[in-house]
Symmetry: C2
Subunit: 465 residues, 2 copies
């Protein structure tokens, strides 16, 4: 079998056989197929679109390209079902720190393999590493031990897990082949399925802060993910959710963790209600698909109870301790938070904020040192932004809009410029009679995409592949 | 400027600017842009098609990526116009050995930069190197000296000439991006234009032995080449010609040279009339575009005269001597030809040969040792095939069809199988009353594509890009 023949087939829209897909993926993982041939194939796949069958085969071949985690087998199998949540990425998205301990508190295990900050979005691993001592590099044996003890662990990808994705993802980043639903689907699911999940809940975001701003494209990706994961034997639904403003108030690393822990402690605020509601929705589905709850609504009720009774908080703190972190930092989170520079941005005008370019806000957070533009750059765990408003709020001149945290004061002006240009205002002298100072909560969950709904979407929209 | 941004633009069918195309080509030539990024761009260009403007800019940027030959400038400029002929490749195509000395004999210079055998077609350089001592690796200074002395030189590409094409062509071969009219056009013309040509005649082949078997695709490529070369300031026409059977009788290396020299010596045969006629057509256009002849017909008359009076033969032999070869091998060419194995293939049936898969015949020649499947493999200068029939001929059982030459007898059976399966027969008991033993000559020139005709073709067929 020659790589050039497989490139030619995908170039000419001829389907690859299962053997050909496995050959390609194995060659990527072992780096026996040269990068230029993989790159040409990726561009052909990006432009010509893979079939649903090819996407499923690619996902499975990538999942099997390295070692896998098998929670229910081996000498000391775990009985509890393994469930996870995956988000396609947004600004201020910290639901993992809520849903993982909730699911664990309710009787599931959550072997969550997470990623790092890149571009305008943050990374779960970077956020956790703002806790002194926290280790995200666990072996699969350590992962199993943690799951047995606490029901959850949030870790980085091991070098041996899905090596094909590591090679292909790095290539896609350099060759403008990231934006392909089929390749995105295979990349996401290969890693999730390699963790041996029984069920998976996907949070597919759309709107100004999402990678897929267009709702139809996001819906299509969600359907592709749900269809492929279910075909691979993992019960999966996707929640299509709004990412038209930062989720919650905090965007950064430590401040996001602190905001999640505040909710685990039942310290609610109007600025974090969207985060709380979305987390309960996601956790409700995790509990339902994991067989703990009869319905997602029942799951949500159980999730809310685990917050109220402190059992989810306990699981979170136990995980922090198990992975080498010092849970004492959460006793006085505002004391632990010591950025070098703090700056309050006040409104220079009055009016109503009617829309936000959330990607631009994400870049403002990144430029303060909380994120990274390219892989491997170190970040400032205390940098970030607290946003003090929601879309729809009526703002007075001089009112604090945001608090910015950075390590150097020269990082602040660019972030301010980005925030200010990200906001769309309507004049406050608007004659709308129903104007109120505090906007009503925005519904975050736009649509539930289960296997049936996914099939209907795929049947109608095959041209989006 | 970042390569990934240019890949993204071509991926999304946005035109590249002249600066962007120059950046890409310079990065390819200097190998500062990684192979995987060039490969992804090539696939995007292959699938999305470049615009006519982009193809022209790419051609010029590639032409300028290394050193160039300037016959009419420098301390000792050549006055005669520089003209060349380029063929898209076929089986038994040896017109270069006729048209170059004819054009030189008639007062033009021909700085012919040629290539090597690859796949099912032979290479001009390999054929010339079957002459003991013949050197094809000349510096540009040596090229100028040869042109001043004899009016012609046939040489290989110097390492410094069009380095971008060397890099891109090697990549295209490995990434299934060879078959792209825009990329083919830029690759062919960048090398031809770097030789400082005033005029160029293209022989674009179509039919069973051509790279572009489909006539519409060949016509489109011809139009693209003519349009681009004229826009770059080189007077250019293309002859669309039939490659539905080997050109002439010989296909190999030495035997092709010997066949060309026989025609230069006015030793004609019914089996080589197609070769003679096509060479006269091509040379006629070279003389016309080079300003020697008022019309192509006038050019053809002058070409024929240079054959009749021996002046073209003189130029050819002078070139052989100038490039280190021993012209004495042509005194008794049949004595010099000493293959280890000679095998006569006789017809096992009677009937009329009505069609030939000429690509299969080219592979038969290659498998006898006359060609190479991959770059760098050495060849047998004496291997090859003499075909003793033309399409349309009525053949009797036992009649010699072909003579095969090889270095090892185990190479013969595969070649025979390929020849036999390449021929389409009609029974000899056909009731057609006009059947004759010797077929009438096949018209080889199908169409002349000048700048006006090219514009009309491009206007109608932009979807073939």
């Amino acid at each position: 079998m020659y790589p050039v023949d497989l490139i030619r087939k995908t170039r000419d829209r001829q389907p690859l056989t299962p053997e050909e897909i496995r050959f390609l993926v194995a060659g990527a993982a072992a780096e026996t197929i040269p990068a230029e041939q993989l790159a040409a194939w990726l561009m052909a796949a990006r432009l010509n679109a893979l079939s649903l069958d090819e996407i499923r085969l690619l996902t499975l071949a990538m999942r099997d390209s390295g070692e896998r985690f098998h929670p229910h087998s081996g000498p000391n199998p775990i009985v509890a079902r393994a469930v996870d949540k995956h988000s396609t990425g947004g600004v201020g998205d910290k639901t993992s720190f809520l849903v993982a301990p909730i699911a664990a508190a309710c009787g599931l295990i959550v072997p969550m393999i997470s990623g790092r900050a890149l571009g305008h979005t943050g990374g779960t691993l970077d956020k956790l590493e703002s806790i002194p001592g926290f280790r995200t590099a666990l072996s699969l044996d350590e992962l199993a031990t943690s799951l047995r003890a606490n029901g959850l662990a949030i870790v980085g990808q091991t070098p041996a897990l899905v090596p094909a994705d590591r090679v292909l993802y790095a290539l896609r980043d350099r060759t403008a082949t990231v934006e392909s639903p089929g390749l995105i689907c295979a990349s996401i699911l290969s890693k999730k399925l390699a963790a041996g999940l029984d069920a998976l809940v996907l949070d597919v975001k759309t709107g100004s802060g999402a990678f897929l701003r267009n709702a139809a494209e996001a819906e299509f990706l969600a359907a592709l993910l749900v269809s492929t994961a279910n075909a691979a034997g993992t019960r999966t639904v996707a929640l299509l959710t709004a990412m038209s403003q930062p989720l919650g108030s905090a965007a950064g690393n430590w401040i996001e963790l602190a905001e999640a822990v505040a909710l685990l402690r039942n310290q609610r605020s109007p600025l974090t209600e969207d985060l709380r509601l979305l987390s309960l929705h996601l956790a409700g589905w995790m509990l339902h698909l994991g067989g703990i709850a009869q319905t997602p609504e029942d799951g949500r009720t159980r999730a809310e109870r685990s917050l109220a009774d402190g059992s989810a908080l306990d699981r979170f703190l136990a995980m922090v301790a198990a992975q080498g972190g010092d849970p004492a930092v959460f006793d006085h989170p505002e004391v632990f938070h010591r950025p070098a520079v703090t700056h309050t941005l006040r409104a220079s005008r009055s009016g109503r904020i009617v829309a936000q370019d959330t990607t631009a806000l994400g870049w403002a957070v990144q430029r303060l040192g909380a994120g990274r533009e390219t892989v491997g750059v170190s970040i400032d765990p205390h940098a970030g932004i607290h946003f003090h408003y929601r879309t729809g709020d009526l703002i007075a001149v001089g009112q604090p809009l945001a608090t910015l945290y950075a390590s150097r004061s020269d990082q602040v002006p660019e972030a301010i410029t980005r925030i200010e240009s990200a906001l769309t205002w309507e004049p406050s002298d608007s004659s709308q009679p129903s104007a109120t100072a505090i906007a009503p909560p925005v519904p975050v969950v736009l649509q539930i995409i289960d296997a049936d709904r996914a099939a209907a979407i795929l049947a109608k929209a095959s041209n989006l592949r």
